[in-house]
């Protein structure tokens, strides 16, 4: 994983999020306050705009710049959570000497753990954690089991999608949707959907490279 790969992925994510914008917008209107899509789009745009600044930086510095941009440029729950993800990844051990797929999975898993701490939400509470945690577990398990990287990524894509759909019938207990009680049921969580799309895009990008 190189800084260039990060920038390239951000651009691919932008295309995918834009293509699904109205669906995501609707999800946060139904069970939230309707801003999630704008938060995410603003964040991605800001990251892409960092290209010139970060492209020649070591990984830790680049990730840190991304983290600060996300943290200061998005706002809302997703800003704090995605910001935490990148801040933690930036602190990964020895990442300036190259990040292979195992390392990438390790720092991603650390990031997800930090996000979990920040938001105090676990699987089953109808948030992005419903996607992030299973995907992180699946990736880690894949490495443990010495699976082929392609295999691991394909599984991750499937896990993310299933997890995303699983939020539909959950009661929400964290985030804005938690205020809704039974009325939140029947709607996919917007953060779960946007996270799933991002994960899918990054995994496919690796698979196709």
């Amino acid at each position: 994983m190189s800084v260039n790969f990060l920038i390239h992925s951000a651009k691919e994510i932008q295309a995918v999020i834009d293509a699904n914008a109205s669906e995501i917008e609707k999800l946060d209107q139904e069970i939230g306050d309707g801003d999630h899509i704008f938060n995410v789009q603003r964040g991605i745009k800001l990251v892409i705009e960092l290209e010139a600044v970060i492209k020649d930086l070591p990984m830790s510095k680049a990730l840190n710049q991304i983290a600060m941009k996300v943290l200061s440029g998005i706002g809302g729950s997703s800003g704090a959570l995605f910001g935490t993800l990148f801040m933690t990844m930036a602190k990964g051990n020895d990442i300036d000497n190259g990040v292979d797929y195992k390392k990438a999975i390790e720092i991603f898993a650390d990031g997800v753990e930090a996000v979990k701490q920040r938001g105090k939400a676990d699987v089953g509470e109808k948030t992005m954690m419903d996607v992030l945690i299973p995907v992180s577990n699946c990736l880690k398990k894949g490495v443990e089991d010495n699976k082929d990287v392609k295999e691991i990524l394909k599984e991750a894509i499937e896990v993310a999608e299933k997890a995303m759909f699983s939020t539909k019938d959950l009661l929400a207990t964290k985030g804005r949707a938690s205020f809704l009680g039974e009325r939140a049921k029947g709607h996919i969580d917007p953060g779960a959907r946007s996270s799933q799309l991002m994960i899918k895009t990054v995994c496919e990008s690796v698979l196709n490279s």
Partner: protein, 330 residues
């Protein structure tokens, strides 16, 4: 969407600029990161009060910056909580050494961003979390209740204590007390439209209202058929009373808050209807506030907040305040 705006991207900035220019005597607006401070620096030894939240609730919080209330406010994008760098920049500007009290409405985005700011801060700081909205249940399995209009009351009362020399711990304790003494509930007749979205946050029928609505147009307790003002008022008050349990002869503040698109005349009518009901229950309205303070863009609707008052709260409610949206005694 019909709004006075030039582009969704510039909406917030231009509005802030106008606000700053129209109230030069009271506030200073700072940009990138955005925050609003008093026009004069915090006097030494005074605890600095900082609040903030997504934009779209004006005059809260920028209109509550000034003598006797906030030292700074951090406006996020419309309905998106502000970011830690805003809070840090504001704190740096207004902290005079006596510490910073953050006043935060209980939404996970606000809570997490303020928490991150607090963790990054050098100096002493505390936070008061408001969660006065009785529309949603407060169970140990949820994030708890939402913070809504009572935040204004917290900011007024704690603002007075801070102005009169209260310590950081005393200010936090008083803020928690005011919050605990308050209950709110709202109802909406129409949706609101986030400028970037360009279309209403929700659809609502010509004969419907959203009962227990949130200040971002989030769904409330239930979708209901339109009712008379007295019925709506009674139901709002019953929900609040059930939670707050004011006793007969207890003194309260009756705060009728408009959501942005409802005219004053109707808010006063609600006040009248609320008084009818409270009089019957022998609950004593000692102080009143009627107006658009904690809004949801142009949403038509209103909320009622009751705050139980004791001598301490009364004293700090009555003390002088000089902000763009609330001013008395000076």
């Amino acid at each position: 969407m019909k709004k006075f705006m030039n582009s969704a991207d510039d909406f917030l900035k231009e509005s802030l600029q106008g606000f700053g220019a129209a109230h030069q005597d009271i506030v200073n607006c700072h940009y990138d990161p955005n925050f609003i401070t008093r026009a004069t620096p915090t006097k030494e030894g005074k605890v600095a009060l900082i609040s903030g939240g997504g934009s779209g609730h004006e005059p809260m919080h920028g209109g509550l910056v000034g003598y006797g209330m906030l030292d700074a406010a951090c406006p996020g994008f419309v309905f998106s909580s502000p970011t830690p760098d805003q809070m840090l920049a504001a704190a740096e500007k207004v902290d005079s050494g006596a510490g910073v009290l953050f006043i935060v409405k209980n939404y996970s985005g606000d809570v997490m961003n303020f928490q991150m700011a607090a963790e990054m801060m050098q100096g002493p700081n505390e936070s008061v979390l408001t969660n006065d909205d009785v529309a949603v249940e407060d169970s140990s399995f949820t994030t708890g209740r939402r913070g809504v209009a009572a935040t204004v009351v917290v900011e007024k009362i704690v603002g007075s204590l801070a102005e009169h020399g209260g310590s950081l711990q005393e200010c936090k304790a008083l803020g928690d007390k005011v919050n605990k003494n308050s209950g709110s509930m709202g109802v909406a007749f129409s949706s609101c439209t986030v400028p970037a979205a360009g279309k209403p946050n929700f659809d609502i029928g010509d004969d419907e209202m959203e009962f227990g609505v949130g200040i971002h147009g989030e769904p409330g307790r239930r979708r209901d058929k339109m009712k008379s003002a007295q019925e709506i008022t009674n139901e709002l008050l019953e929900a609040i009373n059930e939670d707050l349990k004011p006793e007969a002869n207890e003194e309260i503040l009756l705060f009728v808050n408009g959501m942005g698109g409802t005219p004053l005349t109707e808010l006063y009518l609600i006040y009248d209807n609320a008084k009818n009901m409270l009089d019957k229950k022998n609950i004593k309205i000692s102080r009143s506030l009627v107006g658009n303070y904690c809004t949801s863009l142009e949403m038509q609707g209103a909320s009622i907040t009751l705050t139980k008052l004791d001598e301490e709260l009364l004293k700090h409610w009555d003390s002088s305040v000089h902000t763009a949206a609330m001013r008395w005694g000076v």
